[in-house]
């Protein structure tokens, strides 16, 4: 096969000691910035731009690719260990990952994230290598109506994560949707719920909301109970993944990849929706299979979203290399860098600069392998971090979270916002409101609104435009079938005992 030869050529070009070193530097730097909340890979690449002007195009791109993948991976480390997602894409990882960590299974969580990222990244990169042009032409046909349909699907699926009490789940979801409304109305330019505060004129950063609700809320909750509950030391588990962990992870890795890659490839796809879809799918599939259930540290809930996250990161290269279209901030910085070398990004890139493209793809594969090699042995070491006594650990988390919020914009207001969400998180724990639906509301609300309004603006308000794309129709049929199936399968509800309700509330509060 022609592409094989080209990829092989790329691999042999990339495997020079110098390039391998740049890949290693990139991966390390990327992991570093991924771990720090507030500095994303886009910022890191932008900051590095001037440094790389002295380098060859190939070398600097190898480094950028390393930063990109490294950043995606690094974000999951803090999600798992400290419940502070560094990127919006690793919000879902925090849910089960942090619970695994609390049960002494941090090493396993980190390992399944590392291996899952590797597998998803590798499969994704190979798909880019062999099918990018074909995929790209399909991807541009996917417009707002299809995207909106997928959002509706995601919203229907939130039903599975609403928790034991429907009312509480819905309250949380709607609070989240309301938070998602804050900011400028994109179509009319009117500020909404901004109360005249300039910093509220923009959409709130999901990372700030998630870190506030997850990490700060939890730290405050623990602090409030510190005197009343005995100090429970987090057990130190085995350092490696067992065979059972591996068996439970394989399916989620592959399904996560299948979710993540197409989203990365469609313009403005992002990693939030596929990580969420992967999470709910795994939650549903894991039901009744034994092992830790979701909510108590299920490894499937880490393996799936992490794979989806990295597959989406790989998918981003489809529009970038085949069409020269940047779909993420990192991609646009990388394309700007290309222009710095006098290379015009565009559909010609793969033919005119094929050496560069194939070397880049090869170095993505290498960077991925390096990430695995570096991070797998580190997992047990990171896990030891959790043996720090609780007061100090939570103090560290608070410091880390505030630093991240401040570093993004160097604005004290953001720290205040973070604290406000921390208090909301505390209140939600106190009153037994589940936090996940709220986060989903914040993520899904603005995306859904943007796509719905884009579709309706284009059609001049004609609602039939929502089913004008084949993919949209297919998705609606899937939704209808899923709802129908649930309706038909519904059994009469078992009578609930009062103790059970109590237990459920207890479980909710402890989430």
């Amino acid at each position: 096969m022609d592409s094989f030869d080209l990829l092989w050529g790329g691999l042999s070009a990339a495997v020079t000691p110098e390039n391998l070193m740049y890949a290693a530097i990139g991966v390390l730097l990327g992991t570093f910035v991924g771990v720090l909340p507030g500095i994303g890979p886009a910022m890191a690449v932008a900051l590095l731009l001037p440094v790389t002007y002295g380098l060859e195009a190939t070398s600097s791109f190898i480094m950028f690719a390393g930063i990109y993948y490294g950043g995606m991976y690094g974000g999951s480390t803090t999600s798992i260990l400290l419940n502070t997602p560094g990127e919006s894409a690793s919000v879902m990882t925090a849910l089960e990952g942090n619970r695994m960590a609390k049960r002494g299974r941090a090493a396993q969580a980190l390992a399944t994230a590392a291996v899952g990222s590797f597998i998803a990244g590798t499969i994704g990169t190979l798909l880019v290598a062999f099918f990018a042009p074909a995929l790209a032409s399909v991807a541009v046909d996917i417009g707002a109506p299809s995207y909106f349909a997928i959002m509706v699907l995601a919203l229907v699926m939130t039903a599975t994560v609403i928790g034991a009490s429907v009312v509480r789940g819905l309250v949380a979801l709607f609070v989240g949707l309301t938070i998602g409304l804050v900011g400028l109305d994109l179509n009319t330019g009117q500020p909404r719920l901004s109360f005249g505060v300039a910093q509220l004129n923009d959409r709130l950063d999901i990372v700030v909301v998630a870190v506030g609700i997850f990490a700060l809320g939890e730290a405050l909750w623990v602090a409030a109970h510190l005197r009343r509950t005995p100090l429970r030391v987090i057990p130190v588990g085995r350092p490696w993944m067992g065979r059972r962990d591996l068996r439970r992870s394989v399916g989620p890795w592959l399904r996560g990849t299948a979710y993540g890659f197409p989203f990365g490839a469609i313009p403005a796809g992002g990693a939030e929706i596929p990580t969420f879809l992967s999470y709910v799918t795994e939650k549903r599939l894991a039901r009744g299979k034994g092992g830790e259930p979701f909510g108590e540290g299920a490894i499937e809930g880490v393996a799936g979203p992490e794979a989806a996250n990295n597959a989406s990161a790989a998918g981003m290269f489809v529009p970038m290399l085949a069409l020269g279209i940047p779909v993420t901030a990192t991609a646009s910085v990388m394309l700007a860098a290309l222009q710095g070398y006098g290379i015009t990004p565009g559909p010609q890139l793969m033919t005119e600069q094929s050496d560069l493209v194939w070397t880049l793809l090869a170095s993505l594969l290498i960077g991925n392998l390096l990430l695995l090699v570096l991070n797998l042995p580190l997992a047990p070491m990171w896990a030891k971090l959790l043996r720090i006594p609780r007061p100090q650990l939570y103090a560290g988390i608070l410091f880390f979270a505030c630093l991240g919020a401040y570093a993004t914009n160097l604005d004290p207001f953001d720290v205040g916002l973070l604290l406000a969400f921390g208090l909301l998180g505390l209140a939600m724990r106190r009153f037994g409101l589940p936090v996940l639906p709220l986060i989903l509301g914040v993520i899904l609300g603005p995306l859904m609104e943007t796509k719905l309004r884009e579709a309706l603006t284009i059609s001049d308000g004609d609602a039939s435009a929502l089913v004008s794309e084949p993919l949209a129709v297919v998705v609606y049929v899937v939704i209808a079938l899923a709802l129908l199936a649930r309706l038909l399968r519904r059994r009469p509800a078992a009578p609930t005992h009062p103790e059970e309700t109590d237990r459920r509330d207890e479980e909710l509060v402890n989430r």
Partner: protein, 329 residues
């Protein structure tokens, strides 16, 4: 070995920037030659490119003689950064990159102040916008487009890479007004920058795109996108776009330019402003700046001090009238 040394230098520099980016707030020596540059949008965006290019030249040529720190202050189309600039009254070591988009944002977000309230230092560059259609579009010339648009304004969906009040939004509105279409009838879809706008055009989701052309060079060269007209008073020089007529050549009396420049906080001394102007003048005269203009396809339009202030006031009034026309004010 050379490669290894270079790589080491790269790592050291990278770590240094990463550490400084975390902004630990370390108090530096009060060297009065130190400066800071604020960028009102994210890395990779237009202001970022211009601001960092200017800082790169100022630093590379050691024109300022001190350190130069660049900070991206995101939010609300630049109005968060502008508000904070107003709060830095009297700070003589701070500059901020601004442009037409920030003028619009100050209105959209209902700020009490505009760019005119800060201290104008210098306009640096100008950038023309273009009218883009996909390859299979029925519109071959700007006249085809205008005819169809006039006949049924609702049938032509236009898109741009900026939110209402931004350049890509103001341009189609002013064009519509110039050719006699009520701007309120224009269907404008805002996209999140050039990437999503390109996909929308390639996927035939919208009929026309209005944007700066830098991000579209590849698509134009390959023939996937076609430029019907450019918005400046003369043609662009780039290889792919030098044959595209201006609006005026096509008989439409409109010149629309996007520009970027540098402001300082309000309330700085006259002497200090002149010093800052002198620094930028020196930068502009350097061959390195020339190179940056060439590389980015920017048009050199250097206006300083009060002249720049007058220009800002004029732009401000024009943006306000367009937004009023569209019903956004």
């Amino acid at each position: 070995m050379v490669g290894a040394a270079r790589a080491l230098a790269a790592v050291a520099a990278a770590l240094a920037v990463t550490v400084s980016a975390t902004g630990c707030g370390v108090t530096r020596g009060d060297d009065d030659r130190d400066l800071a540059m604020w960028i009102p949008n994210s890395p990779g965006g237009g202001y970022d490119q211009t601001g960092r290019a200017a800082v790169g030249v100022l630093e590379g040529e050691d024109i300022t003689g001190g350190s130069f720190e660049v900070t991206n202050i995101l939010g609300a189309g630049g109005s968060v950064a502008l508000t904070r600039l107003m709060g830095e009254e009297g700070n003589e070591h701070l500059l901020m990159t601004v442009g037409l988009g920030v003028v619009g944002s100050a209105y959209s977000f209902g700020l009490e102040h505009g760019l005119g309230d800060a201290t104008p230092v210098a306009q640096l560059i100008e950038d023309y916008e273009g009218v883009l259609v996909p390859a299979d579009s029925p519109y071959e010339t700007i006249d085809d487009l205008v005819d169809a648009w006039k006949a049924d304004p609702g049938s032509v969906v236009v898109g741009g890479g900026s939110s209402p009040g931004g350049p890509d939004h103001l341009f189609p509105m002013q064009l519509a007004e110039t050719v006699g279409i009520d701007p309120r009838e224009v269907t404008y879809v805002p996209y999140d920058g050039g990437g999503p706008l390109t996909s929308a055009l390639l996927g035939d989701k919208i009929q026309v795109g209005f944007s700066g052309l830098g991000e579209f060079e590849g698509q134009i060269a390959s023939g996937d996108l076609r430029v019907l007209a450019v918005s400046g008073d003369e043609r662009l020089r780039g290889e792919t776009v030098k044959d595209v007529p201006t609006l005026q050549e096509s008989g439409i009396d409109l010149v629309f330019t996007n520009w970027r420049g540098v402001l300082a906080p309000p309330g700085i001394s006259e002497e200090r402003r002149d010093e800052l102007v002198a620094l930028l003048e020196e930068m502009r005269a350097s061959p390195e700046w020339e190179e940056q203009l060439e590389k980015n396809g920017w048009i050199d339009r250097f206006v300083t001090g009060d002249d720049f202030g007058d220009f800002i006031d004029e732009q401000d009034a024009r943006v306000a009238s367009t937004l009023e026309e569209v019903g956004l004010l």
